[in-house]
Amino acid sequence: MTRHDNPLADPLDQLAAYAPTADAPPTMLLVKERILAHDRGADDGARQIAATPGLVWWRRPRTLVAATGVAALAVAGAVVVPGLTGGSAYASWTASPDPLVGADLAQADRLCGESAGGDTLVAERRGVFRFLVSSDGVEVSDCLVDGDGTGGGSTTRLADLDAPTAREALVGGYMTTWGPRNGDVTAIHGPTGDDVNGVTVVRSNGYRVEATVESGWWAAWWPGRADEDATIVVHRTDGTSSAPIRVDDPAANAGF
């Protein structure tokens, strides 16, 4: 129903009808006791505390994906993964990419239009979805095109990115976006060194997503939100692989 059907509906009321509940998570209850135990007159001023990025004494624990768990839950090859997709829109999504070439690539380039200007760095297909990473020399853009031709993505400024060593793959962009048709999508990409020939993203639930590596870049995406505890494993031409590296570890990041 739209306002045409109901001319009295104020747009703010329509938005307010979907207001989230104002329920804080139960973990916040512990915080209250700790605050009350704090001496209000102490010299460690609130400004100083507020400027501290994360007070460890009340941060809830975060778990690190164990390598053994990752192996046990590994998703093989290009098998379609029901239940991983977060909705029927992504039913055809696959954990391993297929190459995107020829007319399919040309059409995806056209559909991404301005958002994918410049040279195409990475092009891949997962089910009906086509995914491009391109650069105009100033920004790196990613663009996901669904089966009906709807596209969108994010951009990262090249100036913010560091160059990897020959054996490294760095995280340059890692972002979840949302659209009304397909819901959440998380894309991750970054530059690779010359000796890198594969990157595996290991999500916090243990699922593995194989990235496409080409033109000195790696890229992957999946339906759903970003995992703070995701790791990447970098594979090299000499047959070796790195230990899992957290994507939020500065050592894996190209932007610092």
Binding site: R3, Y18, T156, T177
Partner: protein
Amino acid sequence: MTTHQEHDDEGAGAAERFEALWAAHLGPVHRYVSRHVDAHTAHDVVAETFLVAWRRIDDVPEAPLPWLLVIAKNTIANTRRSATRRRAMESTLARVAHLAAAEPSPGAVVAEREHVLAALGRLSPRHREAVLLVAWDGLDPAGAAQVLGISPAAFAMRLSRARRQLGRAIDEPEDPDEVAALPAPSVTPRPAAAHGDASPRSLR
């Protein structure tokens, strides 16, 4: 000169006032913060916001929510400036979509959830925040202006434009092709220096 007894009474009174502040406003503050930062950071920002409130319990105004949200907003800004680790990023619109109720409030005659969210996604970040401060955070124009640090008159003008644009966007028929052609960017870019940032460009 104050006695130990007076100190104790004062402390008990402060604790009571803090308890009341916490009970009434923890949820709304957490909801506001969750719209702007990831879940891990939200936990810390809310905690820090209420720690400031505890320290300044004697300064809490009669209408505390805008005051608390200003503290939260400043804490978020400090957290971003101090960030030394890259976090997974999420567009503001993605956060809003996750937070939005699955079903409209009972009795509300409104457009479909995805359609309203898509319409919200068409607004500029400034206009989007203006309508959310009112529609979701429940602030009156004066309180919303305080949170944004602008005059009530400026906020009234911004809200008026935002409401009009939202209404137009809701009125538009759902058309997948239009979604692909949304103007960019759809959310507020974050400081590149702190995050080496990626910015969402459009709705998927």
